[in-house]
């Protein structure tokens, strides 16, 4: 056979095949067409969402503080429940879950029509019963659903935070949230929620007109949320929490105290990273997973257990404020100038009494304090001599009263971060305040009730107010974190950090996003200040005259620690104890701020707490809080 004939034969066969194909197409589309159209119209689609596992929260070394585990849950897909049997399904569910049908019906209503939601709290027996009686539970399935677990319980609770049901407010803030899901409410769980959430998966079904699904078409797996790695170190944190609890316990035994609350923060002065952060009393975030009764919730709320006092506790800073007065004095060259006290070398004699003339109304006022003998700026810091720092305030008042430099002290305080939030990556931080004439003028207009009648009738802002600022009293308020950030700026070359508790985000695909603490302000300290400030901070601890000498007496490396005590007074309350310490003092890496609310004297109650933490950081054995006293 010739090629042409063979090709012609092939062409014939091919043509027959194509002819058959077109004929078949005709049959399917034209002859059977109406049948297929009817079928296509009877199909409905439905989708059911699957919850993404929330990402882990881990400490700087990988210790897991929050994770997700898969637990069996009753998942209701309303789109798969024929409307006429829904009421029956609710009854059946209520029966098997031993819950009130009204309660289950409310869950259905809350979730909305066509939605998918999880009914929590299912035992293996219930799961088995539902799985083996499928016909009684259309649209109900037992699926593994992620549940939040906090393996360390209350440990680091205020930083880790907790989750809760999505509220209307949450939806306003983030419309991507699943209204039937959970959302971070506090701590890292809250402020890093968008990283932790992950992406829900979905299953798309085809559903026959009677609502029965036929054939799973497409499954988009849920994407687990990112892991959030914190800057905090579980080892440091453990010491911090233990020391804080022990400190409060110790302070309870002291005279004129009533410590119920306290806060400690350990900040890295060189990076702005928070290494430890504890607030007392605390709570167990797991309770939000299992559910709290109204009474339990209210009891915790009233004790301020949910408040992170490191960023939300506002206290008069007391004598810890003096370090900022010190900085103002050195940088501005303002020293006590009362002629009667002046000694040839610039120091003054503290007799325990200060008599100031004509501060406001021309009368003479008398202030008292323990006598410290001959003090200069440096020894006054170590001994926390009120008289000396009052004299600095009076010098400022005398020189600048009524001028634009009247607030020079407050300006220094604000430049290191007081009076405004630090910008830490946690919610609910409070700003505190550094009072001045402008604040009182503002109050006079906005909330006159805050201002006493004497002020309204006399002068709004007087020299005595500035004296109060100088010793961190009056209307001065600050959080422990603000004080830690401010002290860090005094010893780290002037960097005012915007602190962070999160180091990095590790995506479920392994991608890493690093976070760094921001810098809110950079101060150029004078050489004179830089040369002496660190040494002067050791004066509170090393010499016997130091206010924290006793608290640190048992610590080996106490000569490497600097700090300042504070005893804040509040009307109608026992004193609150402050201590802010730094180490190693030559080039400080750690700044620790401790507050024991109503805990007594700073040197007696707060300093031993910080000392325990420093002992841990220096690798020493930790002495009991009361050691040295």
């Amino acid at each position: 056979m010739r090629l042409e004939i063979r090709v012609a034969a092939l062409a014939t066969v091919f043509a027959l095949m194509f002819g058959a194909l077109v004929t078949r197409l005709w049959v399917v589309q034209i002859a059977e067409g109406p049948e297929h159209v009817e079928m296509s119209q009877s199909l409905e689609w439905s989708e059911s969402e699957s919850t993404a596992a929330r990402g882990d929260i881990i400490d700087a070394n990988g210790v897991v503080l929050a994770t997700s585990v898969q637990v069996p849950g009753v998942v209701v897909t309303r789109s798969q429940i024929p409307t006429d049997v829904e009421a029956g399904v609710i009854q059946e569910l209520a029966g098997v879950l031993a819950r009130d049908p009204a309660e289950i019906a409310e869950l259905f209503a809350l979730a909305g029509s066509g939605s998918t939601f999880t009914v929590d709290g299912v035992t293996p027996e219930v799961a088995y019963f539902i799985m083996t009686n499928k016909s009684r539970f259309p649209g109900v399935s037992i699926r593994n659903v992620p549940e939040r677990v906090y393996p360390e319980g209350a440990f680091m609770a205020h930083v880790v935070g907790h989750i809760g049901r999505v509220s209307k407010e949450d939806l306003v803030a983030n419309s991507d949230l699943d209204p039937n899901g959970t959302v971070g409410k506090l701590g890292v769980e809250g402020s890093y929620d968008k990283y932790l959430q992950g992406e829900p998966g979905a299953e798309f079904y085809q559903v026959r007109p009677d609502g029965t699904p036929f054939g799973e078409r497409r499954t988009v797996p849920a994407k687990q949320g990112s892991t959030v790695q914190m800057t905090l170190d579980a080892g440091v944190q453990m010491t911090v929490e233990n020391a804080l609890a022990a400190g409060i316990e110790w302070a309870k035994g002291l005279k004129d105290t009533d410590p119920q609350r306290g806060a400690v923060v350990v900040l890295n002065a060189k990076t702005g990273e928070v290494k430890g952060m504890a607030s007392f009393p605390t709570f167990d975030p797991s309770q939000f997973v299992i559910g709290l009764t109204q009474t339990e919730y209210e009891a915790l709320r009233d004790s301020q257990a949910f408040n992170n006092l490191v960023i939300q506790g506002l206290y008069p800073p007391g004598s810890t404020m003096k370090a900022f007065v010190y900085a103002t004095a050195v940088e501005e060259g303002i020293y006590p100038d009362s002629a009667n006290r002046q000694t040839p070398d610039g120091s003054l004699e503290c007799t325990g009494v200060l008599t100031a003339n004509g501060l406001d109304d021309g009368s003479q006022k008398r202030f008292t304090d323990p006598g410290h003998g001959i003090v200069d700026l440096h020894t006054a810091l170590g001994k926390s001599c009120n008289i000396y720092f009052w004299e600095v305030a009076l010098a400022i008042w005398g020189k600048y009263q009524g001028t634009d430099k009247e607030n020079i002290l407050q300006r220094y305080a604000r430049s290191v971060g007081l009076g405004s939030t630090t910008g830490i990556d946690l919610w609910g931080e409070r700003a505190g305040r550094v009072p001045d004439r402008q604040l009182f003028e503002q109050w006079l207009v906005e909330s006159p009730a805050l201002i006493s009648e004497t002020r309204k009738n006399g002068s709004l802002w007087v020299g005595g107010d500035l004296m109060n600022v100088a010793i961190g009293q009056g209307e001065t308020l600050a959080t422990p974190l603000q004080m830690a950030v401010g002290y860090a700026a005094l010893v780290n070359g002037g960097t005012v950090w915007e602190p962070t508790v999160v180091d990095r985000i590790i995506g479920s695909d392994g991608t890493i996003t690093d976070f760094q603490s921001g810098i809110r302000n950079q101060i150029e300290w004078s050489e004179e200040f830089e040369n002496i400030i660190r040494e002067d901070f050791t004066r509170a601890i090393a010499p016997e005259s130091g206010t924290a000498y006793t608290a640190f007496r048992s610590m080996e490396n106490r000569f490497l620690v600097g700090g300042k005590t504070g005893t804040a007074q509040r009307v109608g309350h026992p004193d609150s104890a402050w201590f802010i310490g730094m180490a190693p003092i030559a080039d400080p890496e750690w700044v620790i701020a401790v507050v024991l609310e109503d805990g007594g004297g700073g040197g007696t109650s707060a300093a031993p707490v910080a000392r325990q933490i420093f002992q841990f950081l220096f690798g020493e054995a930790i002495d009991p809080i009361g050691a040295g006293f």
């Binding site: 056979m1 090629l3 042409e4 063979r6 090709v7 012609a8 034969a9 092939l10 062409a11 014939t12 091919f14 043509a15 095949m17 194509f18 058959a20 194909l21 077109v22 078949r24 197409l25 005709w26 399917v28 589309q29 034209i30 059977e32 067409g33 109406p34 049948e35 297929h36 159209v37 079928m39 296509s40 199909l43 689609w45 085809q206 036929f214 054939g215 799973e216 078409r217 497409r218």
Partner: protein, 382 residues
């Protein structure tokens, strides 16, 4: 039939003066590619936006470039370099086994840049070139001896085994179909063909006797007989496919108006089942026009076969023609539940780079045969 017999005389009269490009072939190809891009977009836009379509446009561009490049090459080079073609084909088919399995098969070759190459698509063209080279013989009027047929089958054995091991049943069947078509065109006698069919029958008997087919392969081959038998298994695609195409009726529901296509009712609707998008949106009219466009390409390929300057060229054109017939009939037949689901893409239309490039290259080589038809053939007589 008349069309291609007549065109032979026309072109002989025009001789060397005629346009060097086969306009009808090129136009049909471009038409199908453009139409395919539109269909891929309509089938993937809901889930992927324009991403899949954009990739398809890039592959179409590269494919057309390869088509032109091969058109301008002298196809006889492939005969000289057939050992190289053979070696490269075997190498590509072999290295997929060095990679991790995807969906239970070793079908894909991961390339840098996120591209996945499917060597079996290109192997189809290689097999045609090698079959043509072996079966053409030294002189165009030589009879086809058993010896030559034996050589061709021996040559096919290695790539065939590699394909079956992947396993890629569709490609293996394509090899078989193309081999029979090329053998017939090469002048196999009735006795030779029936001998080969007996051999194939024996082979199939052995496969069933020793259960060499994997369960899913057997299921796919038989499910089309009654797609309703297994609604969620292999018949599920086909049932949905029938509903989708059938609901298009005469004129279709209109472009971008296919309710089922929009919801990805048919799995793989932008790749293997792209014809369902045509059927639903453009109806019988659109579907028939697509089939006619393929018929035109195949007619032109057969025309090229009869006007080629040598038997090597003829067999290439016939082989490529056979390949297109196989792909179109099996793919469209699969969507219409008259062919098994074997993962055979619709040439130029199914989304996917390897198929697009391989089909463009196959047409390019055939077109080279057309462009070089006036070269003096090596003939011992006449």
């Amino acid at each position: 039939m008349a069309l291609f017999m007549e065109s032979k005389t026309t072109s002989e009269q025009e001789g060397a003066k005629s346009t060097p490009i086969d306009i009808l072939l090129l136009l049909s190809m471009i038409l199908l590619i453009s139409f395919g891009i539109l269909m891929v977009y309509s089938a993937s836009r809901e889930l992927d936006g324009s991403r899949v379509m954009e990739r398809q446009v890039v592959f179409a561009g590269i494919g057309l470039g390869l088509f032109l490049l091969l058109s301008w090459m002298d196809y006889r080079e492939f005969r000289l370099f057939s050992p190289v073609v053979y070696a490269v084909t075997i190498f590509m088919l072999a290295i997929v086994f060095a990679q991790a399995k995807v969906a239970g098969t070793n079908r894909w070759l991961s390339l840098p840049g996120g591209f996945n190459l499917q060597p079996s698509e290109f192997a189809k063209l290689s097999v045609i070139l090698l079959l043509a080279a072996v079966l053409a013989g030294t002189f165009d009027d030589e009879d086809l001896t058993w010896r030559r047929i034996g050589a061709a089958l021996l040559m096919l054995a290695l790539p065939g085994v590699l394909i079956v091991l992947q396993p890629d049943l569709g490609t293996a069947l394509a090899f078989g179909f193309v081999t029979i078509v090329v053998l017939f065109a090469a002048g196999a006698t009735i006795w030779q063909l029936s001998g080969l069919f007996s051999l194939a029958g024996l082979g199939i008997w052995i496969i069933f006797k020793y259960e060499l087919l994997r369960d899913y392969q057997l299921a796919r081959l038989t499910s089309f007989l009654d797609p309703a038998a297994d609604k969620l298994g292999d018949g599920y695609n086909v049932l949905n496919s029938l509903t989708t195409i059938g609901s298009g009726q005469l004129f279709g529901r209109g472009l971008f108006n296919g309710a089922l296509t929009e919801r990805s009712f048919v799995p793989e609707q932008e790749t293997d089942f792209i014809f369902t998008a045509v059927g639903e949106q453009l109806g019988f009219v659109g579907g028939a026009l697509v089939i006619i466009a393929y018929a035109l390409i195949i007619l032109r390929l057969l025309r090229i076969a009869t006007s080629a300057s040598d038997r090597f060229g003829s067999l290439i054109a016939v082989g490529v023609g056979g390949l297109f017939v196989f792909h179109v009939v099996v793919n469209v037949g699969m969507t219409l539940a008259v062919m098994p689901v074997t993962g055979i893409p619709l040439p130029f239309m199914s989304a996917g780079g390897s198929s697009m490039l391989a089909m463009c290259m196959a047409l390019g080589v055939a077109h080279s045969v057309w462009r070089h038809r006036d070269l003096k053939p090596a003939r011992s007589k006449s």
